[in-house]
Structures are given as structure tokens and as C-alpha cells.
Symmetry: C2
Subunit: 204 residues, 2 copies
DNA sequence: GTCTATAGCCAGATAGAC
DNA sequence: GTCTATCTGGCTATAGAC
């Protein structure tokens, strides 16, 4: 194994371990030792590769956001008709979150603690842009296909209906008194039901 | 001022300060010194009244949940017709969260870190019960007033549409590129628009 | 690049005077 | 009940050997 390979392996092992721990416990709750254990490496290597906990955290956060952003973009910048877009997004997004259950919560939580992070994200090349979505909604209203609704409100609703059930899973499981298997099935059903709900709400 | 009065004042000052700090920074991010400063008292008094950070946190968490629970109950256990219930809940709930903007996030976040807390909450006297809501939805479906929908899914949707925009405020502000004033106005508009959205989605 | 050992700091908690 | 002073442990970070 070459030195370069070791480099890449160790560095990405650290990043992957850090993702798991940070997303589970947050910046404040995570421990460098815990990340080292998760990556099966020595704690001082974390500092060798990423200098500080803060910088390691920022690497994780950026990586997490750049995984979520394309998901949002798929609703926003896509040429398909509005209803198809809503169906595809709901279906794809829920599949995505089932694979990364802690990711949306992590991003939203850390953005709440550091709202100034948003400024950095806005500058990123692939930050989602809502203009296309907005004009598409406005066109469909003008054409009499859907009821009048502010595109921003519709977008908030779409994101809320898809994200929230995963972020609030423990609370909702308790409230609905269902076990993990039943809850997973509810989420599976939402892949189509959420899109139906939204389309029924707006179609004329 | 009697000793008793001082007791009550100090103890409740601590609890109020702890609410503000814990809800803002979470269990891990909060510092006992910070809470003491916020309450304008000596740090060791925190331990005198609440023994440990953990116990103080639990007092705050219980108090926060017992503020949120009645809000949820108002959708669930109320005799008004379903559509009125949805309108009232949306209107009241958004007003409530405007006053306590960090509360839902705090509860959901800490429940995610400690899912076993839910067990304790379930045992509480005033834990929300969904049975009345469920049978009401099923009746309305049977009477042909609304489209078929699982009551659990409808409840998830109602809560999601009302809670999420506050939990994800920093992300949504960035995504929609709006300032605080505009965002507050969007939330104000949602007091009626969310109810319309939900009712349109389900009514036949 | 990877390890051990440790510096240096900070937070929660307690002892004890008043 | 409230204060000051201090203990104790744990955590980030670094120094330095290999």
C-alpha cells in the first residue's frame, strides 16, 4: 500500500466516522475520542488531518449539505411538469432520507445554532435556486391548472411534509404509539401519499 | 422579603434562565455559568436548587413539554367539527410558536438524542391521545365529507406543516432569500393558508 | 504517517465561610 | 440561602519519539 493510498484511506475514514458521530450527537455532543474510535485510528491523527474539531466539523457539514442540496434542486430546477416534479421529489426524497436519516436534522440543527453559516452556503456554486420553480407555479396558476398559492408557501409545504416526519420521528412514534416497523411502513406509504396530498391541495 | 419568597423567586428565576439557555443551546451546548449569568445569581446556587445540570435540564424539558402538549391536545380532543379544528389549531399553534420559537426544536432535538425520554412522557397524565381524532376522521370519510386518508398520516401532515417552518427557519430564509421581516410575514400568512391547504387536500 | 504522553484549559460539582 | 475558593475530571490540542 502506497503512502498516498494510506493518506486517502485514513482521511476518508476519518471523514466518514466524523459524519456518523457529528450527525448523531451534534457539534457540542460529539467527542474527538469517539470519532477516533469509530474510525479505528489514533485520536491525534484527527488533528494531523483536520487541525481542529471545528475544521473537521465544517468539513462534515459542507459534505452533508452538498448531499442534501441536489435533492432540493431536483424539485426546483427540472423541466418536468409541476405535478410530476412533486411526485418525483416526494418519492426520491423519502428514499434518500431513509438512507441518511440523521442528515436533515443535523443540518437544520446546526444552522439554528449558527445562522451565519447560511451566508457561506449561499455563496456556494450549487446552492438551490427557486426562481424556476416560482415561475412554473405562477404559470400553472395563470393557466388555471392549480389554485392561487404563493410559490414560497407551496415550497415550504413540500419540504415540510417530506422532511418533518423524519426529524420528529421519536416524538411522532410516541404520539401515534407505533413501533419502529409500523413507522417505517408509514414513511414508505408517504412516498406516494404525500404527493397526492399536495396535488389535491392545489389542483383546481 | 421572607425566606420563602426568596426561595420561590430564585428557584423560578433559575428555571426561566435555564429554559432560555437550554432551548437556545441544547443540553450539550449550554453552560451552567451562562445560566447563572442569565439568572443573575451565583453558579453554586444552581446546584443548591437543582443538584446537577442533568436534573436542571430535566426540569426544563418537562416544563417545555407540558407547554407543548396542550397545544397538540387542542387538535385531538376537542368537540368541534374537523375543519374548524384544523383552522383553530393552525391559527392558535402558529401564534403559540411565534411566542416560543425555540421550543418545538428543543423538544424534538433532545428527543432525538434521547429517544428513551418518550417512555417517560407517555406515562404522563396529559400526554396527547389521538383516538378521538382518528375516529372523527374515519367518520368524515364514511360520511363522504373528506377523501380517504389514514388519520395518522393526516395528523403527521398537520403537525409537519405547522411545526417545520419554525424549526427550519434559518435554512428556509436562506433558500427563499428573504429577510426576517418577510419571513415573519410568511408565517403570519400561514395562520390561515395552512388550514386552507390541508382542507383543500382532503375535502371531496 | 502514526503513536504515546502530556500540556493546558474549562466545565460541573462541592466545601465551607458568612 | 448565598457567596468565594477550589477540587476533579474530561476534553482539545500539541510535543516529540519512532
Amino acid at each position: 500500500m502506497t503512502t498516498d493510498t494510506k493518506n486517502l484511506n485514513t482521511e476518508s475514514e476519518i471523514l466518514n466516522a466524523a459524519k456518523r458521530i457529528f450527525q448523531l450527537k451534534g457539534m457540542d455532543g460529539a467527542r474527538m475520542q469517539e470519532i477516533a474510535d469509530e474510525a479505528n485510528i489514533n485520536k491525534s491523527l484527527l488533528h494531523y488531518y483536520y487541525r481542529s474539531k471545528q475544521l473537521l466539523f465544517e468539513a462534515v457539514f459542507k459534505s452533508a449539505f452538498s448531499l442534501l442540496a441536489p435533492q432540493l434542486n431536483s424539485v426546483l430546477n427540472d423541466d418536468s411538469p409541476l405535478f410530476d416534479k412533486i411526485r418525483n421529489f416526494t418519492n426520491n426524497y423519502i428514499s434518500f432520507v431513509v438512507k441518511h436519516p440523521y442528515l436533515p436534522n443535523f443540518i437544520i440543527q446546526e444552522l439554528n445554532k449558527n445562522p451565519e453559516f447560511v451566508k457561506n452556503l449561499l455563496a456556494e456554486r450549487h446552492f438551490p435556486n427557486i426562481e424556476k420553480f416560482s415561475s412554473q407555479v405562477d404559470e400553472q396558476i395563470a393557466e388555471g391548472v392549480i389554485k392561487p398559492i404563493k410559490p414560497t408557501q407551496l415550497l415550504i409545504n413540500i419540504i415540510a411534509l417530506n422532511l418533518f416526519p423524519f426529524m420528529a420521528a421519536p416524538l411522532l412514534k410516541g404520539l401515534l404509539k407505533v413501533d419502529d416497523t409500523t413507522y417505517r411502513q408509514l414513511m414508505e406509504d408517504r412516498k406516494t401519499e404525500v404527493a397526492d396530498f399536495i396535488i389535491n391541495a392545489i389542483k383546481l
